[in-house]
């Protein structure tokens, strides 16, 4: 199964090769959606974990034992369909084509699994129909 989580690393854990450990010890594949990591700073990773449910739970438990904060409620982009006018301006700034206009109906389509929550669409929207849930 797949699970999207946000990992917050204390400064000392930044040195640890976490994605390697997840793969090697727990057989969990980690797809990095977004990362903000620098030496001697608190790091943040938004990742999609893919693996067996028990192994994934064990992996999350292990990360928590290493003082990594694992948040299951990850930040998401929300589209208010009542406000949206389907102008499509956001589709031009979306780097992953999570936001596209349907080629037939020209209705805005949001594919959550493609979204990297870069939030560039939020200020681009002229009718303030896009927000995050945080």
């Amino acid at each position: 199964m797949k699970k999207r989580v946000t990992l917050t690393f204390p400064r000392r854990a930044v040195q640890m090769p976490v994605t390697y450990r997840l793969a090697k010890d727990f057989n969990v594949a980690t797809n990095i959606i977004r990362a903000q990591v620098a030496p001697n700073q608190v790091g943040k990773l938004v990742v999609e974990l893919l693996g067996d449910i028990d192994e994934m739970d064990a992996a999350i438990e292990w990360m928590r034992s290493q003082d990594i904060t694992v948040s299951l409620a990850s930040r998401e982009i929300l589209i208010d369909e009542e406000s949206c006018v389907d102008c499509g301006l956001c589709t031009g700034v979306c780097p992953t084509q999570a936001l596209i206009l349907d080629p037939d109906t020209y209705q805005l389509k949001f594919t959550r699994s493609r979204c990297v929550v870069c939030e560039q669409c939020i200020p681009a929207c002229p009718v303030q129909a896009i927000s995050t849930n945080f």
């Binding site: 006018v85 700034v93 020209y106 209705q107 560039q120 009718v127």
Partner: protein, 403 residues
């Protein structure tokens, strides 16, 4: 002439008129050709839904007791123009709360005014029937002794309330890109550096004025769909530039004709009148406008059969903020709608700014009105001029000084 407007109106009243949206018409012409389509169809409906900055509302407040001659006025902190009759006001779509001041003793209220709101949002609220706070300062005279007035208004507590838009319905526009190295915040939304994206703002071949390229069948007095209510074309729009270069199919290669329109805002609905805001640029308004084209002869159908691949717009670089900006040449609307265009060998993502979905819906709604006999057509009372140049504004005498 095959049909007259009077004959079409007779059919509309009997609910026997054959009405096609402009997209249905284009498809029909592909199938059976211009001649047969002309025989079959009485009316073509076109529509657009896009930001139209040069939009504003005129309203009459009604007289207070004792009366006031309003000289300064704010609606939800957004200034309205008061240099008309005592309680006549004009609220432009692009005025913003933070510019123009709020008058004295407004400090505390200033904090509650959202800077991302402007005249367009206030117009939308009034049309939606929401209460709007009004504050006015008057010039004290013997006729009008009251110095100030504060109240809350709605669309039902004011007299006339109509949109009078000096420039709507641009016939074609530009495509904005940014060849510079920092993000630009424009009236086309954010333009990313190094040709990061391209924005086009006209919905293309379905847009009303692309389908009557020389404004032969519409003119002053033409009845239209405006913001969900009935409106009329009143004049040429500001910056009306019919002499723009044109392709052999008579469509212009850049911004050309524009129209001034008017319509009763009390009939309008917030679905078709939406305040909007472009980050670091300012407030504006998105409007749904629909224009019916009577099928008087074959030429009307031939013009309206135009497709996205037959019309073009110039790709303009916003990184040089001058009156004449450099362009990367022309691109067809078919390419723009494909989602990417090639500029200087680089693939660039395109995004529209007009809502193509809602533009289609305007045409559909107007089709429904006509089919049900609720909307008849008018003949223009005067043509829109076809010979206007587009003057730049330079300092008086600057040409002589540089010689």
């Amino acid at each position: 002439m095959l049909r007259t407007v009077a004959e079409i109106n007779e059919k509309i009243q009997q609910q026997k008129a054959v009405v096609l949206t402009v997209e249905e018409l284009k498809a029909r012409v592909q199938e059976v050709g211009v001649t047969q389509t002309t025989q079959e169809v009485d009316v073509i409906t076109t529509g657009t839904f896009e930001p139209m900055e040069s939009t504003g509302a005129i309203f009459n407040l009604g007289h207070t007791d004792p009366p006031i001659k309003i000289r300064q006025c704010w609606l939800e902190g957004v200034p309205a123009y008061a240099g008309l009759g005592a309680v006549d006001l004009y609220l432009g779509a692009t005025v913003m709360a933070e510019y123009g001041g709020l008058g004295d003793a407004e400090e505390s209220r200033l904090n509650t005014v959202l800077p991302e709101r402007g005249g367009g949002h206030v117009i939308e609220d009034l049309i939606a029937g929401k209460p709007v706070q009004l504050r006015a300062l008057g010039q004290v005279t013997d006729c009008y002794p009251r110095p100030s007035f504060e109240t809350t208004i709605t669309r039902d507590t004011i007299n006339q309330f109509y949109l009078f838009n000096p420039r709507n319905l641009y016939q074609n526009f530009i495509v904005g890109v940014n060849g510079g190295d920092r993000t630009l915040y424009t009236y086309l939304g954010p333009l990313y550096p190094r040709l990061g994206n391209a924005v086009y703002s006209n919905p293309g071949a379905i847009s009303p004025l692309f389908n009557d390229p020389q404004l032969e069948i519409i003119g002053i007095g033409t009845k239209i769909f405006l913001g969900g209510g009935i409106g009329y074309i009143t004049w040429e729009g500001t910056q009306h530039f019919p002499l723009q270069k044109r392709l052999p199919n008579e469509t212009p290669i850049g911004p050309a004709a524009t129209l001034a329109v008017i319509g009763d805002a009390k009939q309008m609905t917030p679905q078709w009148v939406r305040g909007c805001y472009f980050k670091n640029y300012g407030a504006s308004i998105m409007l749904g406008v629909g224009v019916p084209l009577p099928v008087l002869n074959e030429q009307v159908v031939a013009h309206a059969a135009i497709q996205d691949q037959d019309i073009v717009a110039p790709v303009v670089d916003f990184s040089i903020p001058r009156r004449v900006r450099p362009t990367f040449g022309l691109v067809s609307y078919a390419h723009l709608k494909s989602g990417q265009i090639k500029i200087d060998g680089q693939m660039v993502r395109t995004a529209p700014l007009a809502s193509i979905r809602l533009s289609r819906q305007v045409a559909l709604e107007l089709k429904q009105w006509i089919s049900l006999g609720q909307f008849t057509l008018t003949e223009p009372v005067a043509p829109i001029p076809g010979d206007r140049t587009f003057l730049p504004q330079d300092r008086w005498g600057s040409q002589r000084a540089s010689e």
